[in-house]
Amino acid sequence: MKITQKDVEYIAHLARLEVDETLVDKFAGQISRILQYIDKLKDADISGAGLMAGAALQNNVFREDVVQNSPGPDVTLANAPERHEDFYTVPRVVG
């Protein structure tokens, strides 16, 4: 699969990335080569193979839903780039 500069820009938008203009062309070439290599998966005979869930153990994990202490806003928001009282702030979303 070959992807174009336009594809790179579109996928980057989906991933909320803004690829530097000087890198778009380079990325298109490199990612095309990676995808061309990955395309060999199409030759694999996967008939009868299940989807893999769980690397070593196959069991599901349950626990009781018990209320525990929370670290509180000062700890939770300690690394906030910007905050207002006990809230994270972001650029205005609605007009």
Partner: protein
């Protein structure tokens, strides 16, 4: 006395007999870091003050007769593991000033066992790479030859152990990131079974593949560290509630005669891999002969999906990465671009300023593989091939106890050699990434040196939760070859 040269076992004996103090041990390593790390670049953060304080506390406890497995022992941590109050950068500009509010479970376990955290080591940004050249801050050089990479992504930890700038270290392994740098730096590294070690507080790259493990000077030290960090943790839902054997005392009692009658599988597909270096092949055969001399029987096994493993891995790992790394959006922690006018623009500008090229490439590849219309062709197929890889291993282990192979196709390559060619770099993971796909444990143990003096490791793999087989075989090999006493002349 050259305290920096001591293994955990030796340092522990010296500390308990009061031959020297933990503060002296820490100071000896800090002096070495001061002298050498400008050139090697193994560390991102050296916590001299915290380490000296913890060492003094350990000395007080030792004086009172207290004993613990790592009491007063200086350990370095890959900078992907959260440390309360100490910067955790993941070698990324996006987390350049991030100071966690909590310790990763493994860090709490180390501290509980008395360890002194000496610093945080360099890596490929978010563990994405095989050379530590993708660090957002600086490269790390191989202590055996500074023109070569130390391997990656745990290159800082492997280089620090190899250059005697810490007594031991922890790394993480998603596709070979502990075993390959351990091999390239001439030290021992273990990727435990998926679920053996809690991932709580490990910044996620590919959650279904990531695992934390030890990087040490010898096999016994790895056993000791494993005993400290393995165990169930309710904070990680993928953590296994499986009993942890006493690896250390089993090795203490172990005699190499114990390997007699063991069966080692050699995957026929691995030795026909293109680009296998003659020295790597030579020392693989030498290690195999050594094990045969210890009574290990060699059998041929087949891992038919080997040809598809790299392709499947480079769908699954970037797909998980594209999801995991979406959290670095400038809202809750890390970098925020303040020039943006709206929310979407802030996300985009923050990530693009904060993430390096390889991270962006993998996010784009992963987003593409998961996007509408491509999911079945890429992620769906890769996940099925992953199940087939696991089944291949299960079948192979019906005829053998362990599987052996080289760790990497070549010794450490030169700095800059593969930097613009991500695909070639990806292909060097061929021998290691299948164990991550299958969730199996693997170890790298030094088995020789190339003609140019670069270390080469042997990989040993075993069934789920049988780290004991890795340790025993590795220990037998180490005792016979005696390479644990060789270290770079710096």
């Amino acid at each position: 006395m050259n305290l920096h040269k001591l293994t955990i076992q030796q340092a522990r004996a010296g500390l308990e007999q009061r031959d020297f103090s933990s503060v002296e041990l820490v100071n000896s390593l800090l002096e070495r870091i001061e002298k050498l790390d400008g050139e090697i670049g193994a560390y991102i953060t050296v916590d001299s003050e915290g380490a000296r304080r913890a060492a003094a506390e350990a000395d007080d406890l030792l004086a009172k007769g207290k004993r613990a497995p790592l009491l007063g022992i200086p350990i370095a941590l890959k900078d992907l593991l959260c440390t309360k109050g100490v910067k955790t950068t993941c070698a990324s500009r996006i987390l350049e000033d991030f100071v966690p509010e909590y310790d990763a479970t493994v860090v709490s376990m180390l501290k509980k066992a008395g360890a002194v955290i000496i610093g945080k080591t360099n890596l490929d940004e978010f563990a994405m790479g095989s050379s530590t050249e993708n660090s957002g801050f600086h490269i790390t050089r191989n202590p055996w030859n500074r023109d070569h990479v130390p391997g990656g992504s745990s290159g800082g930890s492997a280089a620090a152990v190899s250059a005697r700038m810490c007594t031991a270290a922890l790394g993480t392994d998603t596709g070979g990131s502990i075993r390959q740098p351990a091999s390239h730096c001439g030290v021992v590294g273990i990727k435990p079974t998926y679920g053996r070690v809690s991932r709580y507080g490990l910044v996620s790259y590919a959650s279904s593949l990531d695992q934390i493990g030890p990087i040490t000077r010898d096999v016994m030290d790895s056993a000791l560290l494993l005993n400290v960090i393995c165990g169930h943790d309710s904070f990680d839902s993928t953590s296994a509630n499986v009993a942890v054997p006493d690896f250390t005392s089993a090795l203490t009692r172990f005699d190499t005669d114990g390997l007699k009658g063991m069966k080692a599988g050699i995957p026929k597909e691995f030795l026909s891999v293109k680009g296998l270096d003659p020295d790597v092949e030579k020392f693989f055969n030498n290690a195999r002969n050594t094990l045969e001399g210890l009574g290990v029987e060699m059998v041929e096994v087949s891992l038919p999906q080997t040809d598809y493993a790299v392709a499947a891995y480079y769908v699954i790992a970037p797909s998980e990465a594209s999801s995991n790394l979406a959290r670095f959006d400038g809202v809750r922690y890390g970098l925020r671009d303040t020039s943006a006018q709206d929310l979407i623009d802030m996300y985009k500008k923050t990530k693009s300023r904060g993430f390096g090229a390889e991270v962006q490439r993998r996010i784009i590849t992963g987003t593409y593989a998961l996007s509408a219309g491509y999911y079945d062709a890429y992620y769906g197929r890769a996940t099925r091939i992953r199940a087939m890889i696991r089944d291949d291993f299960n079948r192979a282990f019906e005829n053998c106890d362990i599987i052996i192979s080289p760790v990497a196709p070549t010794p450490a390559f030169k700095i800059g050699e593969n930097v613009d060619d991500p695909l070639t770099m990806y292909l060097t993971d061929i021998f290691t990434l299948s164990t991550n796909m299958a969730g199996l444990p693997g170890i790298s143990v030094p088995c020789g040196f190339s003609a140019t003096g670069l270390p080469i490791g042997l990989q040993i793999m075993a069934t789920h939760f049988d780290e004991m087989a890795l340790l025993k075989t590795g220990y037998g090999l180490e005792k016979t070859l005696g390479l644990q006493n060789k270290f770079p002349d710096i």
